[in-house]
Symmetry: C2
């Protein structure tokens, strides 16, 4: 038998590019990984989780509902607390009726929500606008669903609006607007580039998308992925795109408890306009009819007790320190031709090398890095397939999430030696 029983989706779905990086890490026990997307181990909320699970499981009155099925949309109390939390984050900019519990869906990590949103909005061949570079697991979802990515150039404060407009004009000229469904934006300390999009740019992007809707024949959504929003350790928070959505119906906002609390819980959430919310709920009904209730109740307790806010503060301080250690070691060990923005939050440093120094997995540098027992994410893995531009191959993502302080410093030194060994100055 020659033919496979696998579906077209399965055949399009490749292993995530980072999986063999992880494999490499496992095979070299001395390797320091600045590639991993894991978070800081020592600050995981062990004490809070112990106290809160005890409280939850002490009496059948609270324990039984936590161990029983809930609803597809998620625990009503948790959704209420999430809404309140989002309104507090958006502060004075928040709209009076924004983020009602009914608009909120709790999911198995925000990753599941990104997946379902793509399922409910996009057919094979549809077009999604993404940042250049963008979150590679989202690019994997797009590839799996046979979607076409168009990369939007970035500036230090987010989207290059002129480029966004020219891409939209190009789609209009080629009559491809009916296939355009959304703009995917990792709007705070983005993975991988660490970019935060200004509120002005979010508002301008929304207005631009709106302008092309008539020719698209349907809504074009701004999907704001705020996974790293709370990991800010410098400057003031920027209100979400929800605050500048004049229609209240074009912004889809997703976030998570993984990064600001504990990755091992895998609980995320989103604020969804109708009819997207209803469609997501119907499809989530088929995925799992609801996220693990036990974890939701645990997070309700964490939010209501203040343990969540305390954990966020702990992580902000911790990552501030880790970012300082990594960037000061990079300054010490890397040649002056390598540049990066000092991170104000998130988990990543996005380093740009001279144009001619390639960083991809087949490059001399990547091999030299492995020989020096240090691993980074090659930047080219973070670009959508888009024939309209060449994929840059001289960038890398460095994470200060999981490595220890000592390993961050030593990793930077090793990277410096690898660069030196290939003659990069």
């Amino acid at each position: 038998m020659k033919r496979t029983a696998l579906s077209q989706l399965a055949q399009r779905t490749t292993a995530p590019p980072i999986s063999w990086l992880m494999q490499a890490a496992l095979q070299q026990p001395k390797l320091i990984s600045l590639a991993a997307g894991f978070t800081d181990n020592p600050t995981l909320p062990v004490h809070a989780a112990r106290v809160l699970t005890q409280r939850l499981l002490r009496a059948p009155r609270t324990a039984q509902p936590a161990l029983q099925y809930g609803t597809t949309a998620g625990d009503p109390i948790l959704r209420e607390l999430i809404g309140q939390h989002l309104r507090e984050q958006d502060g004075a900019a928040a709209k009076p009726r924004a983020c009602a519990a009914d608009d909120i869906v709790v999911t198995h990590g925000s990753q599941q929500l990104l997946y379902i949103l793509t399922e409910v909005l996009c057919d094979t061949g549809d077009i999604v606008l993404v940042e250049d570079p963008s979150y590679f697991v989202y690019l994997g979802i797009m590839q799996s669903h046979g979607l076409v990515g168009r990369g939007i150039r970035m500036e230090h404060d987010g989207l290059d609006l002129a480029h966004l407009e020219s891409v939209l004009e190009g789609l209009r000229a080629r009559r491809q607007l009916p296939r355009l469904k959304l703009l995917y934006l990792v709007s705070y300390f983005s993975n991988p580039a660490g970019t935060t999009t200004s509120l002005q740019k979010k508002a301008a992007a929304l207005r631009l998308l709106r302008r092309y809707e008539r020719e698209a024949g349907h809504p074009i959504y701004l999907l704001e992925d705020a996974a790293y929003r709370e990991l800010r350790f410098a400057g003031a928070d920027i209100p979400s795109a929800l605050t500048v959505d004049s229609t209240d119906r074009r912004v889809i906002y997703t976030s998570t408890f993984s990064k600001p609390f504990a990755t091992g819980l895998r609980v995320g959430y989103g604020v969804l306009p109708d009819p997207v919310r209803d469609a997501v709920l119907r499809v989530k009904g088929n995925h799992d009819f609801g996220t693990a209730n036990f974890l939701q109740q645990l997070l309700s307790q964490a939010m209501a007790s203040g343990a969540y806010a305390e954990q966020v503060r702990t992580l902000q301080q911790r990552y501030a320190k880790k970012a300082r250690v990594l960037t000061s070691a990079l300054r010490r060990h890397l040649p002056p031709s390598v540049t990066w923005q000092t991170p104000a939050g998130g988990l990543y440093v996005w380093a740009r090398l001279p144009q001619h120094v390639r960083t991809d997995a087949k490059s001399r540098l990547f091999k030299a890095a492995l020989q020096n027992d240090v691993l980074y994410v090659p930047g080219d893995l973070c670009y959508a397939t888009d024939t309209a531009r060449k994929v840059p191959r001289h960038e890398m993502r460095l994470s200060f999430g999981s490595a220890s302080l000592a390993d961050l410093a030593e990793g930077a030194a090793r990277l410096g030696r690898a660069l030196q060994s290939i003659g990069c100055k």
Copy 2:
């Protein structure tokens, strides 16, 4: 703007038929629901969960890994324990190298695995064979993906093999075998009919499917959903289809910790042959890159400590009692024309009424039941759309899962009054 931005999948995905039943239940506070798929509240493992989470979270050495990301396939120790558990269940019939940890994938409930399996095996228009009747959430997944269902008639010990063969012959005659991907079988105390498929029939079904593979041009899988296997309270366990898969490559086995431990944890698992396993892992990488690690470690502890086995024994005794209470009340209150098989496990009684007495949501009986404050699942909701036969409309699913002992007895009495009120004898 008239056109929706929603995908074809979203437009095909309707609300689950049971959602408005749940809604009805909420609106009538005195209503006794024999429709809910929830499990028994008083026996939820509150004490075990408290002890095990304490143990897990006592020291950073075990707590930190539990609160950190894991791998897409699932915790290696849990997968090892699951493999061992499955080999013990299959006993002497188990193959020596069956259920290796590498063949096992842990998912967000077995529901998520059913979803991903369908994604990786089926394109729109493909054909899936299902039991008549079958699990309605799986039927929802099929509808969402635009699949064609063909219902196989059932006997007391499972599939009607002659009918299975005639359906396969029909597909061959119409040259539709290339679209046939799998046979979905809820093989133990099925939802909804309570049917358990004998080992002989599983083996015969596998041989039959195998015979048509050459003309299909690809493998045809037997998807064995064993969600209710451990909820047996009478008779001896039957080995899984894995034990009669002569090729070791045509059976996909799924099961769950939801039903035999706690539904609030939402952890399921499967044993998958290559290349299905690899495809499932790639797609799960996009869904969530792994099930909540905290829950997996909790279940590892439950299995290793014996708490899991103890909970299964508790539930077996409890559901045995609940089944007895419900069926004896049904015998007392329902007219002799209503028949059912005495359950030997699971959560359901499948009742057949005289052919002319309709049970569907628009029927006189359904309205009479609501008027008498009792709810059942109309049987017609559990049949795939299959133009080759008429959907029976004289059956109902009654659950003894969540209602209390008193409510089971009273619910049966109310159902008896509803039947009496429409003149059913």
